[in-house]
Amino acid sequence: MTVAPGTQTEQRFALSDSDRRRMRTNRIMLRIIQVATFVAVLPVFLILIAILAKGLGTLDLAFLVNNPLDEQVGIANAIKGSLAMTGIALLISAPIGIAAAIFLNEYASTAVQRIGDTLVDILLGVPSIVAGLFIFLLVVPALGYNGYAGALALSVLMTPVVIRTTQEVLRLVPAGLREASLALGVPMWRTTIFVTCRTALSGILTGLVLALSRGIGETAPLLLTAQGSNDSVIDLGAPLSSMTIVIYNNTISSDPTKFAQAWTCALVLFAIALTLNVLIRFKTINSRVL
């Protein structure tokens, strides 16, 4: 459709029929786009309302501090299990991820960088169930279901997140800072640690929080490795529970009480996941403003 205003017969700026048609099309299409955005946002409200409505009822302190086999059922062991496995996974992922990011960004040649980026992309795209299956086949036949296996599976998923975010913030450190440090007679490795990483520190930490938020929301890999347990004692060498496993098991059970507990556990998990996410967003917005 050519855009040619000004081909008027009578007044110069009067609207022709074709102009009116175009404006009507414009209004309709913009309305459709608005509706689509509304549709995209709608699920948030629906899910949030449902979680609050159904989960708040059963939520009390006992739920948070008791264990599944107590009189009043609780998810304390699941909370501890989630934190333990995700925490250990972070202890594995953080050093490996940061080290790999440093090598790829500061030392690798362009060719190696490109290969490395591709590999990280692939690892990022590995479905969580495949990571779980991998550790399941590797570890469980010999050692049984245990918390360490769960942590391993999570670290497979969390490490590429750390690498990607760390790479991005390292890239943002201006080359002039590295040069200034080298020009002072500081060796490259100390420059990397005490200048480059130090400058990028808050970004690196944000990346770790991002990895944490991925780890704490995972279900499938933990099902295949830690499996879940009702034990109140947290033993990482034995089957271990997590909030996600509890929600899953309770959801598929036919017991309505358990189903209600699934909602409450979901509320707790969602609160944690949301807090982490808001933390990240807040940090990212802050640094962008700066």
């Binding site: 800072l177 020009a183 002072l184 007679g185 500081v186 200048v195 130090r198």
Partner: protein, 285 residues
């Protein structure tokens, strides 16, 4: 362009010691650095052609010339920064105190501790305070100093003419200062490690005229303690600030070469080379 090339070895411009004595001893005590047939390459492109000149100690030498004639590239070979870029290489020899900086047994890291550099865009470390910035060279390179760090920080800031302005806010971030102050902070940081030679790559081009003036005054004071080599595209600055001037130009192969070098007075009033005269007169560049 062979006919325009003039290689002049500067012997002396200061009337203080016996010029005969200095003339007989090539690597004399008043020569801080000798460049012998130095070439700098980016891959196969020769950015700097065959430069031979002496840098006199405790004086200011300026590299001037039109854009793209390799002045900055040459400067960066003097403290072995040029080679930190991928594919960048250096030929020839640069001698300091009888040692060739490019000898295989020489550690570039140690070279850079003795030959410091101030950059065009001030680059204080954002994650460090003013005091931490000044002491960063010492701390990060693991140099053990017998003296108290705070003492060194104050002394360096005084020598950089910045102490009075920052003495009450040493713990504020280095980036909280104005542009001119940041550059003086970078100078303080550089001299805190006590180099012999300080290289400056267009240190004032990102600064306003007032800040520029302060830095030029500072250079005048610093040259009593350090040998200074400054690259500048501002001819008048070179005339104000330097004792010796080296004029570079771009050749037909787009590489830079040394046209003429000599005492600043002479270069600006009575240069030997016609090209130099044309550049000074503003007929090109």
């Amino acid at each position: 362009m062979a006919d325009s090339k003039t290689k002049v070895n500067i012997k002396t411009s200061a009337p203080k010691s016996s010029s005969a004595q200095r003339a007989s001893n090539g690597a004399s005590s008043s020569t801080a650095m000798r460049l012998l047939n130095v070439e700098a390459m980016y891959g196969s492109f020769r950015a700097v052609n065959d430069v031979t000149l002496d840098i006199e100690a405790k004086s200011v030498t300026a590299f001037i010339g039109p854009s793209g004639c390799g002045k900055t590239t040459l400067l960066r070979t003097l403290n072995r920064m040029h080679e930190t870029l991928p594919g960048a290489t250096v030929k020839g020899s640069i001698q300091v105190g009888g040692t060739d900086l490019y000898d295989p047994s020489v550690d570039p890291v140690r070279v850079r501790r003795s030959i410091g550099m101030v950059f065009q865009k001030p680059n204080p470390f954002p994650a460090m305070s003013i005091a931490q910035n000044v002491s960063s060279g010492l701390r990060l390179s693991g140099t053990k100093s017998k003296r108290d760090v705070a003492e060194i920080v104050e002394e360096s800031l005084r020598k950089a003419a910045l102490w009075d302005e920052v003495k009450d806010k040493l713990n504020e971030p280095g980036v909280s200062l104005s542009g001119g102050q940041q550059q003086r902070l970078c100078i303080a940081r550089t001299i805190a490690v006590e180099p012999e030679i300080v290289l400056m790559d267009e240190p004032c081009s990102a600064l306003d005229p007032l800040a520029t003036l302060k830095i030029e005054e500072l250079i005048g004071e610093l040259k009593t303690r350090f040998t200074i080599v400054i690259v500048t595209h501002n001819m008048q600055q070179a005339a104000r600030v330097s004792d010796t001037t080296a004029f570079f130009n771009m050749g037909a192969d787009r590489g830079g070469y040394l046209v003429e070098t000599g005492p600043t007075n002479k270069i600006f009033t009575n240069p030997s080379n016609k090209l130099t005269e044309d550049y000074i007169a503003g007929r090109f560049g």
